[in-house]
Assembly symmetry: C2
Homo-oligomer: 285 residues x 2
């Protein structure tokens, strides 16, 4: 098999990264994808750099067993804390979600005041602020950790009075800083977009990294000659593959698959046929 | 060193088990204790039996490096799903929190209607119900999972409007079943006792496993001739040890120690001098 015919690997601590997968599938529909959710170790956002990097390295090693041609780190926490380590350790191209999110935010802001929300680990790492400032030193960045958003989404509590109250606790101060753009710096947060928008006010534009990450993934594959163009060349193959499009993503998790499948459909906006559990949650290390 | 002079090992997925440690220290103040919080893998309550057992086995193996004479599983989830496996695998005595909690609840109830709240894994395991019914087949048991309670406590949100609203969502139905006793089936929940009591009503008695687990630990050590009686015999040693009483518990975690230390003091109701991180979160496997 040619390198370009090999799958793309995507990983996250759990189901949040499916919001990125969704965009990647739109952007490069011809690619085969292996998605890995490290549900035995979820959440990452409350843990240390050392531990998150350890898990992330294992995830890439697992994806490598499928000979993936590139890896998308579909997790803001792992992208913030471990992307450099992963790039140093592995020779395949690896793309994170921070720089795409920062880039999109700078294209969006009019007043140069950008808010960032994410897990504790992401916010404390300062990754978004550093990236935004590197791209535009004049930008003003205001950050806030929202640690309860992930468990709320994992519970399926996406709106209602509890979520609304929690959102006010986290966002009211951020609102007072007159930001006009807010980066949803966690792949879970797009599911709370409606509540977040209502709380932060209609004048603030919400930015999520998924779209831009997917676009950059396509550009990178093209640039490196790694895009799978088989369908461009063979009409029959194209038809055949289109029929199996639903199956061209394979899902793996490190813990119980059923919960992932059920909640995952909500994240992906599509049904998930099957999810396989990695035999032993450590066997791929 | 004699077997009886060796420490007791206590583990939990994180800081919740400190509510048990607190009672164990009261019950057997002469014992040395090694506490291990598996913070790299917290929470357990949303994960599968296989994964929780894997983690629990590793925790006992880590505690065994201190030659512990007995292990207290200070976690309802691990006790519910992994106690049998641990007992089958290790030769040292191992005590969980389910049976003590069930026993205390049966001593407490007047109308034979007992409620149980806990993590998803604990509630779905049916461990409390099975244990209660075994001790008293006539008891009526009403259970409910409260998955957001752990993240709320971990965030330090112990009262206020958010916690109160969440408690109503989880407890209102349970209240309608006319229970007179409610088992706090998760070592985090005693910190929410005030809110839980307010929500469930003043006539319901709250039961937490910690006290009875500590009592059973003392009884078990006595019965097996494993109690450390050095201080009974040597007054000088007693004085010396009393001075170092604060240090007779050693704390280890598998991730960042500082967060554990800070929040842990709240759980323990005492200051924690130092917490060591296990060098590499997998090195003890």
């Amino acid at each position: 098999m040619l390198m370009k015919e090999k799958p793309i690997g995507i990983f996250d601590s759990g189901i949040g990264g499916l919001t990125v997968l969704r965009q990647v599938r739109r952007e490069v529909p011809k690619e085969d994808i292996v998605y890995f959710g490290d549900t035995a170790h979820v959440p990452y956002g409350t843990k240390s750099k050392e531990t998150i990097t350890k898990f992330s390295v294992e995830n890439v090693k697992f994806l490598q067993t499928f000979e993936v041609k590139a890896v998308v780190v579909a997790c803001n926490t792992a992208s913030s804390l471990s992307l450099d380590a992963l790039k140093a350790m592995f020779s395949i191209p690896i793309i994170g979600v921070i720089e795409p999110g920062a880039k999109r935010a700078l294209e969006t802001t009019k007043n140069g005041r950008v808010g960032v929300i994410g897990t504790k680990a992401t916010i404390h790492s300062g990754s978004y602020e550093a990236c935004l400032k590197q791209l535009d030193p004049s930008v003003k960045v205001f950050s806030g950790a929202c640690p309860l958003f992930v468990p709320l989404v994992e519970e399926g509590w996406l709106d209602g009075p509890v979520v609304s109250k929690v959102a006010h606790v986290y966002l009211d101060q951020l609102k007072s800083f007159k930001i006009d753009t807010l980066i949803l710096g966690c792949t879970h947060y797009p599911l709370l977009a409606e509540t977040i928008q209502k709380t932060i006010g209609p004048r603030v534009r919400l930015v999520n990294s998924a779209e831009e990450t997917a676009r950059q993934t396509r550009v990178m594959l093209d640039r490196l000659g790694l895009s799978d163009r088989r369908k461009d060349q063979q009409v029959e193959l194209q038809k055949m593959r289109r029929r199996k499009d639903q199956q061209s993503t394979t899902f793996y998790v490190s813990d119980e698959p059923e919960q992932f499948r059920m909640l995952g459909e909500r994240f992906l906006g599509q049904s998930i046929q099957s999810v396989a559990k990695v035999g032993d949650c450590f066997s791929y290390v």
